[in-house]
Amino acid sequence: MRKLLGRFRYHILVFFAVIGPGFITAVVDNDSGGIFTYSAAGAQFGYLPLWTLLPITVLLIITQEMCSRMGAVTGKGLSDLIREEFGLRITFLTMAALVAVNLTNVMSEFAGVAESLELFHVSRYVSVPLVAVAVWVVVVKGNYSSVEKIFLFACVFYVTYVISGFLVKPDWKEAAIYSVKPVMMLEPSYIYMVLGMVGTTIAPWMQFYLQAAVVEKGITAKEYAESRIEVIVGCFMTSVIAFFIIVACAGAIYSVKPREIQDAGEAALGLRPFGEYAFKLFSIGLLNASVFAASILPLSTAYTVCEGLGFEAGVNRRLREAPIFYALYTLLIAVGAGVVLIPKFPLVKMILLSQVLNGMLLPFVLIFMILLINKRDLMGDWVNPRWFNQISWITIVLIIGLTMAYVGVLVRGMQ
């Protein structure tokens, strides 16, 4: 018995030691784009979309688990593996696409920063440059473990959504019912909304970031059991936060008068009648999420690209040791923040474009992943078991189908 307790304690300790990659990836997933999608869903359809969260969580877990497993077993990042197994040209094209996609993503994060601070009457000409510089400095001057600590701390701020969800006093009974009761409607805007929720939740960059973070943290196959739990818990956290965002907007906006909202700031304003705190917490949550994602996305992109193409990379290296890494990182932040400041820049279009590009790159990344994880010379005994492989293929086909449908709808809407 004592031995059993001892083992249990050991697992708990290892669990805390491996915390980081899964949590951070899952939580950053609720970036400004995600918050907007969830708010819009809640504002327009109330509690109805809640049922989608559970299946989305399952899809998310299946993809994330594969990445973290590959990271732990091979000790190599996803871009490393793509390079080693599929050659330079495919890697180069994937990386080029990833930079383009993530650049538009960074733009939408900085748009989120501007939006949320404008709710507090801070001009975007002040807030965006300040945040951009702060993000740059923290990462450039930090090392992996200090950066991770800051990121983990930022995760805590997502609790603001939970609180604002409670402050709105939504109809909990209805929320509970619709969480498990699927409602399908053939209304185009409803389908669009469902597709959007899948599209914002599973993005290409996450796969790269998660795997790289697992490697950088030095998680090995031995600690993988704990790491897997961490990834799964992280995925559930994503959905819990999404749940509260939807519930808050359902309670505050939908139950008063259902309507379409244009940005996440509008959702925050909609919470105002339910008290200044509900509004403020929601806005702070948006700010936190945007800043958080704005610091992780450029970092992850620069890291992935340099790893894949064989340039020196990593926050633990100095500027002179990894010039291309820092140049790319700086460029992504500078351009991403810069365009937000250009008057009349078609930002909404850019954000939609970022979703479209995400959706176009994702199928490739997912297919690379499943091909890689089935290579026995890479994964040894850790290859997908047969049954899991079938589930993975179904998942991937499903995600690809949904994303392509979403891309189709978006592209039609953009013309």
């Binding site: 050659g87 330079l88 030095g218 031995k222 193409l309 064989g310 020196e312």
Partner: protein
């Protein structure tokens, strides 16, 4: 660019012509056989119809970029995989290798070869491994543009490559490593800190391969320089207990104890069992102390003399401890009960008269701590008294070990 250079990307898809000048296929891959020759391309794998054929280097008459490969002998055998072959496209391209002079891990983009003639035939010798932007452009454009255009296009991009002699292929599989004649001898001449940096950049399997192969003494130095204690532990864990024990024996006892304390008890016991008795007892004693106390920080390697010893005795003692000299700066004096009585700065010995007593050369005040003193307090003492070494005594006042400034630096760096 001299005309007799040929890049591997150009060799790929080059036509192979028989005696009558008919094309029998294109080059698919090329291989070195390191046991026969370190840099000569020994086999060309040619793909025509269904199967690949092997062309030995002595079956070739001429090689030219525009014209292709002209054979002198048509007796070709079908290709079958051979463990003595280092295939360039499969085993080298896109893989990580160690740049011994540049002391870093790099990824192979392309291989530069030289077309040489030994009077009878042309053959290819691998001269450089290309790692820079130039080779990326070449790989990406390969097959899209004619080779001569690509050469012209590349001209403005500065080349970046390492000489083949200074490149070290990493092969985790010990059998294949032997057959391919890959050794890590070149790494043994590197500074342990540089070697540690390289090892940190590699994936776990490759890391272990290096530690398995290199000399235990070098391995011990490098392992001490690996910054992350978790990584140190996982390296030791992956090795055979005997090899791990050999390495641990060569480490300073305090560092050995630190690493072992990171391991699971079972594994560290296994390693301790394999160790020689003398270092084993020292390490075991150190393992008893809490990590953040003076006992956990100290090292048992020091030069100790009786308090009545003379200068001559000191010289004799130093001669007997030559392996400690590099970092030694203080001698310690004890009384008949082994209690610490004085510390003598090494430099004072040089100015002392012949026949002087060591006691008279001692520092005016003896600063010491007990084994259970807290780490913070120890660091404080080093700062306050500008210490290089600090003796640690047990509850009876007997000398237990010494803490040196480099221990303090490691502690501070980890904060």
């Amino acid at each position: 660019m001299a005309d007799n250079l040929l890049f591997f990307t150009e060799l790929i898809a080059m036509p192979v012509l028989d005696l009558k000048g008919r094309r029998i296929g294109r080059v698919k891959d090329a291989a070195l056989v390191p046991l026969l020759h370190a840099s000569r391309v020994d086999r060309f794998l040619v793909g025509g119809g269904d199967a690949w054929l092997t062309v030995r280097f002595d079956q070739i008459a001429s090689i030219a970029l525009g014209a292709g490969i002209q054979l002198s002998d048509e007796q070709l055998v079908p290709y079958h995989d051979d463990e003595y072959m280092l295939r360039i496209a499969r085993d080298l391209l896109d893989q990580q290798i160690i740049d011994v002079t540049g002391r870093k891990v790099v990824r192979v983009n392309d291989i530069t070869m030289r077309i040489q003639n030994d009077g009878q035939r042309d053959f290819l010798a691998v001269t450089e491994v290309d790692i820079g932007m130039r080779s990326i452009v070449r790989r990406v454009l390969q097959g899209v543009l004619p080779p001569l255009w690509i050469r012209r296009l590349m001209r403005p991009i500065p080349p970046n490559s390492i000489r083949w002699e200074f490149a070290n292929v990493v092969e985790p599989d010990p059998l294949r490593r032997l057959r391919l004649n890959i050794s890590y001898n070149k790494l043994e001449d590197m500074h342990p800190a540089d070697l540690a940096d390289i090892v940190e950049d590699l994936a776990p399997a490759e890391r272990e391969a290096i530690f398995e192969t290199i000399d235990s003494e070098v391995a011990a130095d490098a392992l001490s320089e690996v910054e992350d204690p978790k990584m140190q532990a996982s390296i030791l864990e992956a090795l055979e207990p005997e090899k791990a024990a050999d390495i641990v024996e060569e480490m300073a006892p305090d560092e050995a104890a630190d690493v072992l304390s990171e391991l699971e008890e079972e594994t560290s016991e296994e390693i301790l069992d394999e160790m020689d008795s003398e270092p084993k007892t020292e390490v075991r004693e150190l393992l008893e102390f809490e990590e953040d106390t003076a006992g956990g920080m100290m090292n048992t390697e020091c030069v100790v003399l009786h308090e009545n010893a003379s200068l001559k005795d000191a010289m004799a003692a130093l001669k007997g401890n030559e392996d400690l000299l590099e970092s030694l700066n203080t001698l310690f004096l004890i009384d008949a009960d082994e209690r610490l009585t004085a510390a003598v700065p090494l430099a004072r010995l040089f100015l002392a008269q012949n026949g002087a007593k060591l006691k008279d050369l001692a520092t005016e005040t003896l600063i010491q701590v007990t084994v259970d003193e807290k780490q913070d307090r120890v660091t404080e003492l080093f700062d306050k008294y500008n210490l290089l070494t600090l003796p640690v005594v047990d509850e009876d006042g007997k000398l237990a070990g010494v803490i040196t400034a480099d221990d303090i630096i490691s502690v501070l760096r980890q904060k």
